[in-house]
Symmetry: C2
Subunit: 339 residues, 2 copies
Amino acid sequence: MMRFAVIGLNHGHIFAMADGLVKTGKAECVAYFAKEPELQAQMRKVFPNVPLARSEKEIIEDPSIQLICSAAINNERSALACATMRHGKDFFVDKPAMTTLAQLDDIERAQKETGRSWFVWYGERLMDPSSRRAIEMIEAGAIGRIVNFIGLGPHKLMRPIRPAWMFVPELYGGLINDIAIHQIEMFTHLGGGRPTVTSSRVGNFGHPDVPTFGDFGDATLVGPNGATAYVRVDWFTPESMPTFGDIRNIIIGTKGMIELRKTVDLAVDNDRFTGNQLILATTEKPPHRISCEDVKVTLYDDLIRDVENKTNLCIPHEKSFAACRATLEAQTNAVWLNK
Amino acid sequence: MMRFAVIGLNHGHIFAMADGLVKTGKAECVAYFAKEPELQAQMRKVFPNVPLARSEKEIIEDPSIQLICSAAINNERSALACATMRHGKDFFVDKPAMTTLAQLDDIERAQKETGRSWFVWYGERLMDPSSRRAIEMIEAGAIGRIVNFIGLGPHKLMRPIRPAWMFVPELYGGLINDIAIHQIEMFTHLGGGRPTVTSSRVGNFGHPDVPTFGDFGDATLVGPNGATAYVRVDWFTPESMPTFGDIRNIIIGTKGMIELRKTVDLAVDNDRFTGNQLILATTEKPPHRISCEDVKVTLYDDLIRDVENKTNLCIPHEKSFAACRATLEAQTNAVWLNK
């Protein structure tokens, strides 16, 4: 059994991450720490048998713990990553894994110096069968050379349930960094490595009471293999949408195109809620759906195997660093609209 | 009966334009001119009763002709527009209406000095019920303030049937200018007037034997009302697609979103060929389809009325000039990829 602990419950993704590890039957959550009483209460409800540690330090210094999982406040995640790796443990973190380029530099340095593993939960690719199938098909040449990737990441804001730190730019780190990391990380796989940002923009269109909060962002990029990309993220998904957001990829190649409707298939069959709709058209075959039902989501098993074997296969560091760097550049250099 | 003539048959759109006018029952095609014998043969087949004039000049100088229609080679359209207006006639031209900013300046000057009408066939908006309905709904506030417009204009190249001039940049004028005019013209309506280009790119991904031919282009823009846009065009639609291209708009506002599937509804009900699929989701109502069946395409009637009444209602000059200017700027300043 792999022994892991949790530090920081500031985003709900942490429960999916910890639960995913436990459900493999190969990992045990042995402790957690969070300073907020209301988040402690949530943890007690989901994991009644996992004890609250006295401090982060107690967990970080416990030599029996192999992995620390975290969804701390965004700008606290990198320091925790470095401390964890420097104490001989691996680290599994919700995205975004950091909020500044300096934090990314720190993480890269700590990872290289310690040789420990640093895993980021890129849910929209790793947990999404249609994304995995699409990458596999594209790598096998299904649509020829990639010409353009569009990644759309609209989200519901659900403002009443969002914590105050989300509206403090230094703590939150911006919506391109928070959301578009999904799209840019996907493009890192399709574009052949670290993308170059051509242009990026952020704006506040609908939340004048929090003027420094970006509720819209987009960017254009180019990959080392010449493929182009456009990514767009926003906080305007209507509450009525039967999903947190209509996550979409449209990918064109020299010999065909693929569309992914990852979370919902709008206005089709009373909405195919579950997403995983992969639509393919090629020079040989008209548009049709490709089943993704047999694609297994193996993230948690793969991650535990990496921890146990001291390998780095499931979320390779170099690709992960590349995706984070391009995303931080898009966020940092974004032109602010409506100012 | 409005009397019109045709000069230049270099793109097949001309037959739809002339036919549209004739079918109203309010217009008569009285002459045509084209120098190419094979295009003359095509015209004789479609309009057997329309006589071939001896020259362009004969048509331009005929005082009984009120309107000249043209789909000449792209870079010849502006000189013809100016000559037509300076001879006291109106001009109805396929898009793109010009290939350079200098040509647009000439047209604007001729239009303003003569007071004649200059109509551009923006087929993807004017001939498309779903576009007309979407604009009408958005203007009535259906999705709140517009945040972002995505316009996708993929096309089949069908290279064997394309004329040689399409691969000569000076004659053709580039694919952003040729195709993205549709998307940018649509955005001129949604973005509150002449858009500013944030970034634009052109590349050749799949046609190394014609290296100066752009087979992919995209651009980001901002409208005077603050709305953002991304437009993407390409020549990579697979031959197997049951349409010339999957023309798509995705529009998000502060209170909802609209998706238009103008030409095809991919992998749904054996492809809803006819397009005109308008999908709406708002803060009040989950994603659903809005019928566009009752939207009448009135372009040709409206245009004839404008000619007869010397009005300028159906394709207002200022919006049209604004759309062409932004499109030419996107084309002219595009970064060339893969060079």
